[in-house]
């Protein structure tokens, strides 16, 4: 939100619309991914969310969590890539987190 507020100040202070602002605005719009994925992952204690900025692709991340229930309070969570040109971080996560295991509420 602080980046968005700063963006608003920049727009208000500029005489005309700048090149690159459309892409910047789109990037902020994509940041809604994080709360979305937090909801989809049923509040599991996972290390990261797609589009949370912890990978080189930042909010352009096309990855997703694929959560499969395997028992009571037990889940397998797979990091799935959604783009062919994923960054190294997302490729590595797909290999490492295949799956992340949550058993009886504890991340293994």
């Amino acid at each position: 939100m602080q980046f968005l507020k700063q963006f608003k100040i920049e727009i208000q202070g500029a005489p005309e619309w700048q090149v690159g602002w459309n892409a910047r605005a789109a990037m902020y719009a994509k940041s809604i991914q994080v709360p979305y994925w937090r909801g989809v992952t049923k509040l599991l204690p996972l290390p990261a969310m797609p589009g949370d900025g912890s990978t080189a692709c930042l909010t352009n991340c096309g990855c997703a969590w694929d959560v499969q229930e395997v028992g009571a309070d037990s889940y397998d969570a797979y990091w799935r890539r959604g783009k062919n040109d994923s960054c190294q971080g997302c490729i590595q996560r797909e290999q490492e987190w295949a799956p992340l295991q949550v058993r009886n509420g504890e991340l293994r």
């Binding site: 937090r38 049923k42 509040l43 599991l44 204690p45 996972l46 290390p47 990261a48 949370d52 912890s54 080189a56 190294q88 971080g89 490729i91 590595q92 996560r93 490492e96 987190w97 992340l100 509420g105 504890e106 991340l107 293994r108």
Partner: protein, 156 residues
């Protein structure tokens, strides 16, 4: 002689949820760090082994078992390189490294296509990549989010 009795909170004990919250936070952060530590070696010719150990329930150690990785992470001082007795050095140029300081990634790099023969060279040293510091800082800043997710998961 005075007797004292501890006043315990009613309802369920918080001991187990707290243990799970802390353990999940540490495990999640360790798994994220493990992924990042592997990234600088993603394009290398050999595989680098990154492991997570938990010496105690409230401790995680993430280790990389690779000499080249350790050398690049710490960097080297300038030094002379001499050929073994009776030999001559051979290397290719222009060399382009696969990694750069303070970046958690790995490029293709290049050995170069011009072969050079020499009786000795002065190596200017290798700038430290600082992967441990950069990755540590990155995930220290994010532990609040991970901790919150662990709390949310425990009290859902």
């Amino acid at each position: 002689m005075a007797n004292s009795t501890a006043i315990l909170p009613k309802g369920r004990s918080l001991a187990k949820p707290m243990r799970v919250i802390i353990s999940n936070t540490l495990s999640a952060q360790a798994k994220a760090i493990k992924v990042d530590l592997a990234l600088p070696a993603a394009t290398w010719d050999h595989k680098v082994n990154v492991a997570i150990n938990a010496p105690t329930p409230y401790e995680r150690q993430i280790t990389v078992d690779d000499e080249i990785y350790a050398m690049l992470n710490a960097g080297t001082r300038a030094h002379d390189i001499k050929p073994r007795s009776g030999g001559i050095l051979r290397f290719r140029t222009p060399f382009r490294a696969k990694t750069v300081p303070d970046q958690i990634r790995s490029n293709k790099g290049a050995l170069g296509n011009v072969t050079v023969w020499s009786h000795g060279v002065h190596h200017p040293g290798t700038r430290a990549r600082n992967w441990d510091r950069v990755i540590g800082k990155k995930w220290r800043e994010r532990i609040g989010d991970i901790f919150q997710r662990s709390i949310d998961a425990a009290i859902k």
